[in-house]
Symmetry: C2
Subunit: 398 residues, 2 copies
């Protein structure tokens, strides 16, 4: 992210101090001095800087052993807002959140990602500005934007790379286009599944350091949290498990051009196709889920078998990554226990005891909000980093 | 590692300053003040602390624009030494290195890991002390020890967890036993393949942030470098790819009790067994390599097929992790191009273009030294962390 915020050689250190306060707990100047080993005069100066930028505020008095009780200071998540954008092939969800990722205003609408970056991003900016106003804030309060796209993204530049379902977006300057429309706010872009992993991690499992989030929808993908952080790999393509080969499916063609890919046998699209061949009325994963919920046996059986196919691939992922948690999200996960049961069956059968003795496999807790929460978290992390805080304070002084 | 070094609430900040100097480049006090934004008086005090501990030393004068030229200071890797220990099932390798992982003295010997932790670690300590003397240093200079073990290790505690080939080591207090014999030096323990990954990364590919190191020997395992650091997973079992299912090998029993594991079809042990069935004389992976090098066609064919089986599993690993480099090490990798060719054949056929467009697959550059280099790097990282440096300086003052 160094290409977004310019690091000034003489940073103030206030950004570093601020990290201690991000947990929201009120602290006195003496607490901060003890925690950092910095002189009281340094702490006082930095606290004043952070206060004048509105990032922290007095939060009452600490108990005192005599004399005037000292003031405590705490993070003010309402100091600024971010815009979270979750774009799918045919659907967009937008939210304005505060710096604690609390949603202040949100909206969703059908879109066509195929309309291309100019049209779609102009629409996003327009609706984003409306949501900022709806949240009672001005564009000057908007410090960053997090965008999830349904395809591979080079995270460092925010540019999509050969995205199969949105070819007109290849190498588009998503950052530049959106920033220009939104008062120059910094724009961060990532793959939608990475942001779902981040959203699930932050909102439901913040204490789990090693987890895998798997989206089972029209396509299949995953996002990796390792040592507490999202891992994107060398080209931002980490987690792309939809085209791993499934044993025994060598004769099933995949839309990627290969044979026997996981997506070709276990995605919402593949399940719907299979049920149509059995004479059922299923256009997509949501229809498959509806059939399962209506008690259709063939649909339940097909989803359970898809779970087993997924389980074969996830067993390999579990062996490689040794997560303590696998979260299954995406529309097909809403079929409930059928999918998870199939996954568990194979993962537990095919893994070494050490990798599974503390392994949980669960469905997403954050559900449809998960992409927005991840986009917000990415945008917030960016503006609250030590370097970004120092740059913000510097800009105020200059 | 917080359980090894006690963090003092008022740390001096010298440890943080030292991180800037770890690259070995000489810097003036003014350089350090500019880079950190700290006051000259603070820098002067911290430089003095680091000098008095011998961690940095004057390194000549910088050019001056007038007046007395300022002194530069640089990291002194010879300030302390670490002991690197690489234990296999039947073989041990030990080295004393400086803080830049330069080997000062080394030795190797046959051992039997099955003799158990007390006997083996006593032997390690005895030979370690000899090597320290041989390097012309005293036990007081030895600040930490890095140990690689041929089995799963809980890194936070340094204890082996149900290690299949060394059952008597289960839950052994490797840290406590070895530290007591080596003047109280901190002891860090990890799985041998993780340390091979770390050693290869640091010595041959320091600029590659996302790589996978694969060891193909009697068993098969891997170590993951992601965003520049070794990732161990929730229980320290990450990279354990030897028991991932290989399509089409469902009838091959593995010593783990499952069927069709990668290790059962592509390890040195499996290859030797296969060649014995064909009437060849091969006890282990080294014999297989010797046959390949002697031009034996059956051996070459078997190694290439093992490469393909490995390639199937590595294609899944590449899809999941998106590394830019896969390094193949271990004794079977010394069979040369036969193994790599089989691996490449399947990985490139079975991966999405985005994951492989910048992917290199190569044999280990560090070869037999790689485990020792990794053990040294782990031990050095531990003692040169900001917290550890501050603790060391504190101990000198107290």
């Amino acid at each position: 992210m160094q290409d977004v915020v310019k690091l000034t050689p003489r940073h103030s250190g206030a950004g570093e101090l601020f990290q201690l306060l991000r947990d929201g707990r009120p602290r006195t100047r003496a607490d901060l001095a003890a925690a950092t080993g910095q002189a009281r005069s340094t702490i006082t100066a930095r606290v004043d800087q952070l206060m004048s930028a509105g990032l922290i505020a007095p939060a009452g008095e600490a108990s005192s052993t005599g004399g005037r009780p000292p003031t405590t200071f705490a993070f003010q998540p309402s100091a600024r807002v971010v815009l979270a954008v979750d774009l799918g092939a045919t659907h967009a969800r937008l939210a304005v959140t505060d710096l604690a990722s609390v949603v202040l205003a949100e909206g969703e609408a059908p879109i066509a990602i195929a309309d291309g970056p100019d049209a779609v991003l102009r629409w996003v900016a327009e609706h984003g500005r409306k949501l900022v106003a709806e949240a009672g804030r001005s564009l000057g309060d908007l410090v960053s934007v997090g965008v999830g796209l349904p395809g591979p993204v080079e995270h460092a530049t925010g540019r999509p790379i050969n995205p199969p379902i949105m070819p007109t977006w290849d190498d588009a300057d998503v950052r530049g286009l959106l920033s220009a429309e939104l008062g120059g706010a910094d724009v961060l872009v990532d793959n939608d599944v990475n942001l779902m992993a981040l959203g699930e991690h932050r909102s439901a499992f913040p204490d789990v350091d090693d987890m895998l989030f798997v989206k089972v929808a029209t396509g299949i993908g995953s996002g990796i949290i390792s040592d507490g952080r999202l891992r994107r790999g060398a080209q931002g393509a980490a987690g792309d498990i939809g085209h791993i080969a499934v044993p025994g499916a060598e004769d099933v063609p995949c839309r990627c051009g290969n044979l026997g890919c996981l997506e070709a046998v276990a995605s919402g699209r593949a399940l719907a196709e299979e049920l149509r061949r059995e004479g059922l009325d299923a256009a997509d994963g949501a229809d498959v889920v509806a059939l399962v919920r209506a008690g259709d046996l063939a649909a339940g059986r097909a989803v359970r078998q898809a779970g087993r196919e997924l389980g074969g691939v996830l067993a390999a992922c579990v062996s490689l990554l040794n997560p303590s948690l696998v979260v299954i999200g995406g529309v097909v996960a809403e079929a409930g226990e059928h999918l998870i049961a199939g996954i568990r069956e194979v993962v537990y059968a095919r893994s070494l005891p050490l990798a599974t003795q503390h392994l949980r496999i669960v469905t997403s807790q954050a559900r449809s909000e998960v992409g927005i929460l991840g986009a917000s978290a990415m945008a917030v992390d960016h503006v609250l980093s030590p370097v970004a805080i120092d740059a913000l304070l510097e800009a105020r002084i200059a």
